[in-house]
């Protein structure tokens, strides 16, 4: 018995290089692009696109999709030399984070077919460092049926109006908000929107605003409008049910879909989960309050998710061909609006079948401001750190003055390290 085992093992060892060699030979022929993406909620759509591209050109896209540890996996792959041909990141501050690795798309013909507004976030030092993947918006999503059933006909725009609506809902036994405070990314999205009007009104635009913060000439504690941000967080917490600090993304989407809560602060990526929980749900999009000025109540509207092409990859040309196909072919142009069901940054693309995308367009057309995701201009890492500090404020760990101190200290430290 033992002898047989030995022979078997020996055979296995001898034969294994042969198998390996056989596999390698097969791989050589057609191009396989190595891709690292996030947003696992789009996995089906990614696969559909991959299959279509393979049919059209014979090129395989080998996609790995990750979420929470995306950044760490990407970082370790980049500095271990295992650079993906195509990868994703945020726009703005990430342009310089990955500058050593990305290919400049300025001279590619297909870039001319992208809305110039969507390109703003990826241009750095005059170079187009990435390809805006889709246009996203975040603000308050509400359940239309709940609003109707509770007799709310005028949509709120200011902080006071939001409070009045919340009060009315609470009195009727409906929880007004699901907070999402447990997710470190929901908090800053909710919070920064409340002062989205401030950089242009008082500090000469977002770039100047961020520049002043980075150099330390402007501190959060010197911005009087930070009270708008705290007021909004207080409001959501007060009307956010018995356990406001425990609500996460799943709680938000499922509570809204079932009509348990009336409003959540989320973006268009949440629509899929909401509609999967309750296909009959009717949802709408509200302009978020910036203090008590109804005219500046707007939505956060930007192209943040960015596709980047590796500069030194041997498949660079194939990766560029794929982007061209995505921008110009019929399937490619229809992929974002038709399959992903979000707004496409390509000029003249179709409108998607999505409540939030439609309401986004309607809100913008009605004159509500669409603010850029200016907090993405803050140095990499601030999102999580400042998010945790705001989370501490919501949990009652710090008061407003202490929170502002902490925000300034954390920001200064990261800005210094990023130089």
């Amino acid at each position: 018995m033992k002898k047989m085992l030995f022979v078997l093992l020996a055979l296995l060892i001898v034969a294994s290089p042969l198998f390996a060699a056989g596999q390698q030979e097969k791989k050589d022929e057609p191009v396989t692009l190595n891709v690292l993406f996030y947003s696992p909620e789009l996995a089906e759509q990614y696969n559909d696109m991959v299959a279509e591209y393979k049919k059209a050109t014979g090129v395989t896209l080998d996609i790995t999709v990750l979420q929470t540890d995306y950044r760490s996996v990407l970082t370790s792959r980049l500095n271990s030399g295992d650079v993906p041909d195509i990868f994703m990141s945020s726009a703005y501050a990430d342009n310089s984070t990955y500058k050593d690795y990305v290919y400049d798309l300025s001279n590619e013909d297909f870039i001319k077919q992208i809305e110039p507004g969507a390109l703003q976030g990826v241009i750095s030092d005059g170079k187009v460092t990435g390809y805006p993947f889709l246009v996203q918006s975040h603000s308050f999503i509400y359940n239309k049926k709940v609003f109707r059933d509770n007799g709310i006909t005028t949509l709120p725009k200011t902080l006071a109006e939001f409070e009045a609506v919340a009060k009315k809902l609470q009195a009727n036994g409906v929880q007004p908000f699901a907070t999402g405070f447990k997710e470190f990314w929901v908090l800053p999205q909710t919070a920064w929107q409340a002062i989205a009007n401030v950089p242009t009104e008082n500090y000469g635009g977002y770039e100047k605003f961020t520049g002043m913060l980075n150099s330390g000439t402007l501190k959060f504690k010197d911005i009087p409008q930070m009270s708008q941000l705290f007021d909004l967080l207080d409001l959501i917490k007060k009307y956010g049910g018995p356990k406001p600090n425990e609500s996460d993304f799943n709680d938000q989407t499922s509570s809204l879909a079932t009509g348990k809560v009336a409003m959540i602060h989320q973006g268009n990526w949440a629509e899929d989960s909401i509609r999967k929980t309750n296909p009959e749900v009717e949802i709408g999009f509200l302009a978020g309050p910036t203090g008590n000025n109804a005219a500046t109540a707007g939505i956060m509207f930007d192209s943040n998710q960015t596709i980047r092409i590796a500069k030194d990859g041997k498949n660079r040309q194939a990766a560029l061909d794929w982007l061209r196909w995505l921008t110009t072919s019929e399937y490619g142009r229809n992929w974002i609006p038709g399959k992903v069901k979000q707004l496409s940054p390509i000029i003249g693309a179709a409108a998607p079948d999505s409540y939030i995308a439609k309401e986004t367009s309607a809100l913008l057309a009605s004159g509500a401001p669409g603010y850029p995701w200016f907090y993405q201009m803050f140095p990499t890492g601030t999102e999580q750190q400042l998010g945790a500090i705001l989370q501490g404020y919501c949990a009652g760990l710090t008061d407003r003055a202490q929170t502002l101190e902490a925000l300034d200290a954390a920001y200064a430290k990261i800005a210094k390290a990023a130089q």
Binding site: T75, D100, K243, N245, A395, A418
Partner: protein, 285 residues
């Protein structure tokens, strides 16, 4: 002699390449400013350590929480495990089933346990509350900064108990029966037996378990990562999570490695002290 050394060479080489050299490389990184992505690392001497000791309140808060968590879990885990081991070593019915039941959580990954408990604490407790109406289920176990320490402690206790239980049961079974019988004849009570005979004789098991729970407590990461993600605020951020964030979220690899070198030294020193102290108390039969 030379031949013996020669035989250790393959193992030595493997450890050198996979452990020692990367360790020395990271010690070097801790003296640099590097974002983990740029191709060049800038040497900045002791700057990282200076910032760490003089200007990083968050890190020291994380340090404080880690120590509290470690202390709590070393005490809770060892006391509970020892007590249960004594119970399960005696002649009670169904002890094999119980032993297995206590061990099962230990074979599930802590990340998954974190998510399971996250669900239990929020959705699970809510429906318990609707069924029973007990206020304890309506507490915000993961959102209230006063309770969250106990939530974390409870989950890690629930998870790791089985492992220590097994070690203690093994230890209890090495205690010679004749000594126990002799003490019974001399009229020693159960309690006296335990403290005068059993406890000194299972000291080796206690050394191992305390050592293990101490270093696991100081390195705690996965349960925090999946259960609370360091929140609310930074109240449950442990040193390991802080290091992870410094390196991978804020992209400060140089500074992150400086922190981990300090963590390494801390674990080393604490473990040496602990093993020294406990070894002195071990007795031979």
């Amino acid at each position: 002699m030379l031949v013996f050394l020669l035989f250790t060479l393959p193992a030595f080489a493997a450890i050198l390449v996979s452990v020692e050299i990367p360790f020395l490389m990271s010690v070097f990184s801790s003296f640099t400013k590097w974002n983990g992505l740029d191709k060049a690392q800038t040497f900045i001497g002791l700057e990282n350590y200076k910032e760490l000791f003089l200007d990083d309140l968050d890190m020291w808060k994380a340090f404080g929480f880690t120590l509290r968590l470690t202390l709590g879990s070393v005490l809770a885990v060892n006391l509970c495990a020892l007590l249960l081991a004594v119970l399960l070593d005696s002649d009670i019915k169904g002890k094999n089933v119980l032993r297995a039941a206590f061990y099962v959580p230990n074979i599930i990954s802590l990340i998954i346990i974190g998510y399971i408990w996250r669900f239990i604490f929020s959705a699970g407790f809510e429906s318990f509350y609707q069924k029973t109406g007990w206020g304890v289920f309506m507490l915000s176990w993961l959102g209230d900064v006063k309770i969250i320490y106990f939530s974390v402690l409870m989950v890690s206790l629930w998870h790791s108990l089985g492992f220590y239980l097994v070690v203690y049961i093994a230890g209890l079974q090495t205690v010679p029966r004749d000594l126990i019988e002799a003490s019974m004849i001399d009229g020693a009570s159960r309690v006296r037996q335990f403290f005068s005979i059993t406890l000194p004789l299972i000291m080796p098991s206690i050394t191992v378990c305390v050592f293990h729970s101490l270093s696991n407590g100081l390195k705690a990461f996965d349960v925090i990562f999946s259960l609370t993600n360091g929140g609310p605020g930074n109240t449950t951020t442990t040193i390991a999570l802080d290091i992870y964030r410094t390196a991978f979220v804020i992209n400060r690899f140089g500074y992150g490695t400086a922190k981990s070198v300090v963590l390494f030294l801390m674990i080393l020193i604490l473990s040496i002290i602990q093993v020294r102290v406990f070894k002195q108390r071990e007795v031979e039969v």
